[in-house]
């Protein structure tokens, strides 16, 4: 094992810039439910105590397992509520959070969103319909709680030498509209009323760019997170992707890139057919974070020396697999995806609550000790 010669930040920035670091950077996508399970506490009880309690649980996990390189803000239910999503809190009987997909967004709302933007729409219309947050004053209180928690988290992780991967994960406008309208209704809108959808997407994209750049510059971070679950070829044919997702994504990346900020795309489900499009983005302008269902090896062949990839030890392997299987897969990733740099070792999507302790240890140990191929 070579001696480490880089800090976590240097290592991650090296990989993101498609150079070869001293070893593969490690940054599991964390879920508080996994952090709770692995530190021996009840997630539903922690979640009932607010954002800060959930942050503390994740920090406790970080300390217990000896730390790793890349971390991100706690993705607590409070964050989803702030974004205008109806959220079911975990309970003792059902100890996971759940975003509730209902038709909160109406057809006529596209016009309103196109005029006033998403967050003004959330504040002025959506929160009343959703009912999780009763007033704008409550929304402000919630926002203050989350912002304070995120800043505290950044401070604590930086003290521990970790690198903050992104200040938040924005939902791509396409995904946000789909969740708020409900998938079937949104699909009908794409089919019957595409121009209205495009008007809203345009406004929301401009808003994301403006707010995201401000957030990154304020936090001193060089990467912004964007999540998308539904625009890939798993759900829709490429002509839908090309009209309703790709142009806005290019706009987002170009805007951030002009400010020296990379975009971290968390892409859920299988994006095999969409990956080639990402070659059109400027080199090293984005990080492609896969959830284990996209073929990461094929993605690497498409994106070699062009974009960094984060992933993808699958949740099933982490929970029902054996440590030797986890170790073998991590080595395969490091050899085949990280051999020339451009890999951040991570879980495929969030670490599941059923993660075995020994499997998580195996992933961390392998990442820290296995040499990048010569």
């Amino acid at each position: 094992m070579r001696k480490e010669t880089m800090t976590s930040t240097e290592r991650i920035e090296c990989a993101m810039n498609l150079e070869k670091p001293d070893r593969v950077p490690i940054g599991p996508l964390m879920s508080t439910s996994a952090a709770a399970a692995l530190t021996g506490v009840e997630y539903w009880e922690i979640a009932s105590r607010g954002y800060y309690a959930q942050l503390e649980t994740e920090i406790a996990l970080f300390d217990k397992f000896g730390g790793w390189d890349g971390v991100h803000p706690t993705l607590a239910p409070e964050v989803y509520k702030l974004g205008g999503l109806k959220t079911r809190m975990p309970t003792k009987e059902s100890p996971e959070i759940q975003i509730l997909e209902e038709e909160f967004l109406r057809y006529e709302d596209y016009e309103i969103i196109a005029e006033i933007g998403w967050m003004n729409f959330v504040r002025g219309h959506l929160i009343q319909r959703i009912g999780d947050v009763e007033s704008n004053e409550d929304l402000k209180t919630l926002r203050d709680e989350v912002v304070a928690g995120v800043l505290k988290g950044m401070e604590e992780y930086r003290k521990r030498g970790a690198h903050i991967l992104f200040p938040t994960l924005y939902m791509h406008p396409f995904f946000m509209l789909s969740m708020s309208r409900s998938m079937v209704k949104f699909t009908e809108d794409l089919y019957y009323r595409p121009e209205m959808v495009e008007k809203a997407l345009k406004k929301m994209t401009e808003e994301l760019i403006r707010n995201g750049i401000r957030l990154c510059e304020g936090a001193g971070l060089k990467t912004m997170g964007v999540v998308e679950e539904r625009a890939g070829a798993f759900f829709y044919p490429l002509r839908i992707f090309e009209r309703f997702w790709w142009p806005y994504t290019q706009q987002i990346v170009d805007a951030f890139h002009s400010k020296g900020i990379k975009v971290w795309f968390h892409l859920d489900t299988c994006w095999d057919k969409n990956i080639p499009y990402f070659k059109k983005l400027p080199r090293a302008s984005a990080i492609i974070d896969l959830d284990g269902t996209t073929n990461i090896f094929a993605a690497k062949e498409q994106l070699r020396n062009h974009l960094c990839i984060n992933s993808d030890v699958h949740p099933v392997l982490m929970s029902v697999g054996k440590p030797e299987d986890v170790e073998a897969y991590c080595k395969k990733l490091i050899d085949e995806v990280g051999n020339d740099g451009g890999l951040l070792l991570s879980t495929g999507c969030g670490l599941p609550a059923a993660t075995k302790k020994e499997n998580f240890e195996a992933m961390l140990r392998t990442g820290k000790t296995y040499e990048l191929s010569k």
Binding site: S33, V184, T187, E229, Y236, T293, P352
Partner: protein, 195 residues
């Protein structure tokens, strides 16, 4: 125990159909457990079903595309240990792909003897969804053992026939039943297919 996975988009009538199937199987003296992954009305009916002796497990949360399989295996283990059901009915989220779930069940849930995938399609929306969400729809149809065309009560016979032919052209092995879960039309045909 056997696993019946009911898939289909939100609003296709999965919960209504699940309740019908559960009642029929239970009346046949089979011990039924239900795993609820689609957040809908089952919360209220769950209590009713529990009073009728059926076990209802809620399987929510996480990123369904990748964590459903994980949580499903542990839930099946728990049900097998504590409840010993004859049949477990899983109402999967509309975005979950049975083709991803079934292999994990087959590999890691050895207590499951047989897995059947029932896909529910809404007769009113089938053609639109097949065009706009072609990859998802064809993957769902391809993974199905049984395709149920629902909400046929106010749909013309020719349209139902068209949907049937479309499904069979995409998956020649799938059995197809047309019914109305809400109105109770043709449920007997479905129960015959499930036995």
């Amino acid at each position: 125990m056997n696993l019946l996975l009911i898939s289909g988009f939100l609003g296709s009538g999965k919960t209504t159909l699940l309740l019908q199937i559960a009642r029929h199987l239970s009346a046949d003296s089979r011990k039924i457990a239900i795993i609820e992954n689609e957040v809908g009305q089952i919360g209220i009916d769950g209590q009713y079903l529990r009073r009728e002796g059926m076990d209802v497990q809620e399987l929510f949360g996480g990123c369904v595309c990748c964590t459903l399989s994980v949580n499903l295996v542990t839930t099946l283990e728990k049900l097998n240990r504590l409840v010993h059901p004859d049949t477990v009915i899983l109402e999967a989220s509309g975005v979950a792909l049975p083709g991803d779930i079934v292999p994990v069940v087959r590999q890691y849930a050895s207590m499951v003897d047989e897995t059947q995938v029932l896909l529910l399609v809404d007769a009113h929306r089938y053609e639109m969804l097949l065009e706009v969400m072609n990859p998802m729809m064809t993957a769902h149809i391809d993974a199905a053992d049984l395709v149920v065309i629902n909400k046929i009560d106010d749909v013309e016979e020719s349209k139902i026939d068209h949907i049937r032919k479309s499904v069979q052209s995409l998956n020649g092995k799938a059995r197809v039943v047309a019914l109305s879960a809400e109105k109770g039309i043709n449920l007997v045909a479905l129960m015959r297919e499930l036995r």
